[in-house]
Point group: D2
Chain length 364, copies 4
Amino acid sequence: MYQPDNVKISPDLPIPETMRAWVLGDPDQLTLTIKPVPVPKKAEVLVRIDAVAICATDLEIIHHGPPAMIQGGLPYNKNFTPGHEYMGTVAALGPGVDEYKIGERVTVEIHAGCGQCKRCREGMYTSCHNYGLNYGDVDKGHRANGFTTDGGFAEYAVNSINTLVRVSDEMSDEEATLVVTAGTAMYGLTELGGLVAGESVVVTGTRDNRLQIGLELGADYVVNAKNEDPVAAVRKLNGGKGVDYVIECSGAPDAVNEAARMVNRGGRICLAAFPGKPAEVDIAYLVRNNIYVFGIRGEGKSATHRAEAFMAQKRFDATKVHTHTFALEDLPTALRYARERIEDAIKVVVKTHGHAAVNSVAAE
Amino acid sequence: MYQPDNVKISPDLPIPETMRAWVLGDPDQLTLTIKPVPVPKKAEVLVRIDAVAICATDLEIIHHGPPAMIQGGLPYNKNFTPGHEYMGTVAALGPGVDEYKIGERVTVEIHAGCGQCKRCREGMYTSCHNYGLNYGDVDKGHRANGFTTDGGFAEYAVNSINTLVRVSDEMSDEEATLVVTAGTAMYGLTELGGLVAGESVVVTGTRDNRLQIGLELGADYVVNAKNEDPVAAVRKLNGGKGVDYVIECSGAPDAVNEAARMVNRGGRICLAAFPGKPAEVDIAYLVRNNIYVFGIRGEGKSATHRAEAFMAQKRFDATKVHTHTFALEDLPTALRYARERIEDAIKVVVKTHGHAAVNSVAAE
Amino acid sequence: MYQPDNVKISPDLPIPETMRAWVLGDPDQLTLTIKPVPVPKKAEVLVRIDAVAICATDLEIIHHGPPAMIQGGLPYNKNFTPGHEYMGTVAALGPGVDEYKIGERVTVEIHAGCGQCKRCREGMYTSCHNYGLNYGDVDKGHRANGFTTDGGFAEYAVNSINTLVRVSDEMSDEEATLVVTAGTAMYGLTELGGLVAGESVVVTGTRDNRLQIGLELGADYVVNAKNEDPVAAVRKLNGGKGVDYVIECSGAPDAVNEAARMVNRGGRICLAAFPGKPAEVDIAYLVRNNIYVFGIRGEGKSATHRAEAFMAQKRFDATKVHTHTFALEDLPTALRYARERIEDAIKVVVKTHGHAAVNSVAAE
Amino acid sequence: MYQPDNVKISPDLPIPETMRAWVLGDPDQLTLTIKPVPVPKKAEVLVRIDAVAICATDLEIIHHGPPAMIQGGLPYNKNFTPGHEYMGTVAALGPGVDEYKIGERVTVEIHAGCGQCKRCREGMYTSCHNYGLNYGDVDKGHRANGFTTDGGFAEYAVNSINTLVRVSDEMSDEEATLVVTAGTAMYGLTELGGLVAGESVVVTGTRDNRLQIGLELGADYVVNAKNEDPVAAVRKLNGGKGVDYVIECSGAPDAVNEAARMVNRGGRICLAAFPGKPAEVDIAYLVRNNIYVFGIRGEGKSATHRAEAFMAQKRFDATKVHTHTFALEDLPTALRYARERIEDAIKVVVKTHGHAAVNSVAAE
């Protein structure tokens, strides 16, 4: 049985010594293997993964390799487990951890900063200056689940307690996997955007067959950019003045320029997507109109805790975007559903423990 | 004599009924004319102009026309007086004004917001949503000296008390004309940039024959971009980590991309210049590195008051950038010196009252 | 008929030349009189008052006189009309106003800043340094409805457009009178408190017979301070750690010390009430625990606009606190209900136009 | 010789196995003993202490015991070494540390936060919710030099790399011991106070025989509170309007009320001292005037780095407040000088290595 030194476990939640885990070999080569269950260190816990959702970034990582390795020229880790939108149950506590109890349901954010760099010291741990520095000899303590450290397409994962968010009993496992996604959106709206109730915001880049869901989730208006000019539509809906904030999710080449013409003087643009190659930007327009442009780099500023609170109050109903569930062994099928949007798939979830994965049977 | 109703004047500072003022007819057509001395309203004063500096934007306005008219499609005002970097003496007080006394030396910032729009209510009066709305039937109270209202190439000008900054006795008229310029820089450094002592900043776009002045004004290092790659030079000087902030003053087509590679993760870029046409921007790099990009639109947040305080303490020595002085009637020559950088001209000042304008004689 | 120069009116909403208005003579001497309908100036409108709620501060002003007069030693205006929680219909537009149309339903915030002082220039118009300076010879443009200028216990009132908030069609007149109150709370929560979803807040000082309403409005827990020690109760409910924020509404002598022991290290206390005389405060405890203490001075930072948006979305149900309605001529009875909490009165509203005031008949 | 596992040392800076260290037994019982040189862990270094200044808080700790022990009811550590204003030379690196090199001169701030609590995650590590939790079984990683962990009245000390600040070559050891003190002041001025150039600030509580030094360090005016009413004096000097900020350093019983009457509406008061027992506070005045009150709890927000930058530029000349120097073995004498202000002592420094401690001889 699993019983590392200085790690607290409970007889109520026995842990095997090995686990099933998908690993990424060469690009697009995912294999289900057996790995040792990892061991939490100081300020870390072991999480038994109960559910994990598939994010578009997972599809990219599986196809291209983790960004830190590619951009940083790091050696390609052939034993790497991707997956970052996961939730589960606290299964073991690293030395000294008393912030969490074994058996608690938690969901996780991606980034644990190093805690020493300029950005971490400012509370901006998602922009940690030691990003990716947890390989080999240089371990600065930074971790990014499923990006630079092993992630959630497995039965267990180690997490810094900084990344944990308690999950309300009323929230299903599937909903809880979406807390980190909602937390990213909240970080963009609240901390980065400074948006407060009563201000106007445009979210660009939603697919046209999802516009109805936008209305159900609380949008006052939806505009189908295939049928009408979005800039003109937004300015008309807003009385000609321009909105306070645009969250750009399309990544289209002209998206920044269009967003700039949607916001008012002094407005802000948050880039949640970006074009694959450099794009022409009317910089003079941005400067003359005092427009602020910035990207969003994950969840940040503990916004996942706020997202959980919102979702527990049913103020954001994540069940509207969760469409499919599969079992862990069916990950390749789940990825295909997510990639090809089969049956209008939006959020596809993989269940590792617990409830039967009904969709899986039906879908296959 | 000048004695409008409800306006307070003083026998110590008699005001004529008319004044000399340069007016812009067609582009590049400046004529020295006689105008009535204008009348201050509520919360306004009449300023006797003692000195006015020439800004690169003045050259553009004289060549192209004021931006609000051109961009806003407004009728071209053939009686418009440009000039915005001016200082002088409070000569008359509008109804109810007791914040200033006749005889006080003041310098001015450009923008007086409408006080009613969203931005003015946030304190961001330089991004007033009623910018330019002080023509004809629609007067929202916004004023921008030398941009949308008559400016400083004249003997007198009306100013909102919001735009006034008292000038220390130790500061010369010539120095005081540069307070608004320094205030713009301070706004970019402090309010927009959040820069605090000990952080690292790069200012790009300085001409190579002015690098020495940069050192004299306090730069730790200067890099001549003609001789070495500025991105590599900055990263080397900064220990490879990237700086906290770049103030981009070159307006070069690739400037945003270069600035992005100078700052560290989570860093900021302030655009004080911009290319004449849309430029290719590596948006993905900005997003991945959590870089904030924004323009600077004039002085803002009462930063001119702070600039005056700094300059009065000799912490920024404006005499190092003031190179030439001319008389009001010699404005065309002064503009030529500024435009063509004759005799390495940096800041060219026009004196309206007071001391003999020695340079003028020598220069002509 | 009412037809002042330069003021825009509409035949659809004819305005009489005089109106009924309650005026405060000596303390506690309210008289219903006839006054001329006032005239809006630049950036002002005339509002036809449709409903006005009674605030505890109104009771104090009627009993003691307006605070600016008392504290500032100003002459007591015997023709003053109190009342500040009012809403109504835009009836006439001052010169140049095009931000509002005649016939629009609006509610109002109290403070219009001078627009020139340090605080107004920062967006903190409720702390205007020219507060109260709109009497006699010194008019700096500051206005505080029902405090320093005529208020809402009348048929019409002039308002700066800065104080107006459009009211959604779904919101009743009675609800709309409470927008400014909700806006004050939102300002305390969001701008002053920096509170974001998921943080913990305690509101102290609620009467015990209103605790149930607290639960209905969204509180997770209520504590009856008559039955248990509130500090112990809060720390227990919060897992011993202390909450992030306390909004102190009791004004009890020991309230600051109790609040200090409810918040965690680095927490904040917002004082929405205060004891009638100086109170002993354990300052060392505040300093050692890095606690921030500040008062709330009305609504601020356009928070009323956000309050209206929240209330229009039924996120705050003001009908739960509105208990009684009277007609304008029954103001003394309405004040008595509010003062003595007759029939558990919470918010008592006076209707000036429109619907029959049914309670009035029943109550008397 | 000192050679712990996984710790990097250098032959250029040999380290003994034991060191001299003052330890606090019962209150006021300081003994010079021999201790093992401590061992740095992950993200820690060993600092060879070259100089340490005496702070008023050291005098209190020596007289009463460390605050965390007393307030937290923790067991009294009879082997504790006080002293927190120290600087020195990096002597050994804990596992993985590459941010610093052996031989670098550094000064230290006091607090290393746990990195996991709400406050540390916000960048407010001086208000760490796990303050003091580094005793016995519960080690959350928080450290406060000379408060909860061994401090600087010794030859060596371990420090988190988060607490280190590089020292410019031009700065003497004595000056460098004052960086943390200056950093605390800067944190109060900049981060807590939001003060920018050109605003007005009052520092209260300076002894009258030090007023001249205040002028030398840059104060525009000094007021001797023994000779004139400080509130009246400040309001007069400031044109009757009140200042923007008061840093209260007197700890006098009426200090908060006096400070409140010095600041303008919307102003701020930072408490850097506090009365020994609860004091009467006019809370109503604070609320009505929208005054913000908060304590300062050490240095915070990396302000020491900014302080070092300021001091290296000679913008704050610490030599003006450094008055005496003693050798490590003369600590009791040094403490007496500081406590009794012998020979007008302000900052008394103890030198551990290096230059002869000339004062020591002269003084004794």
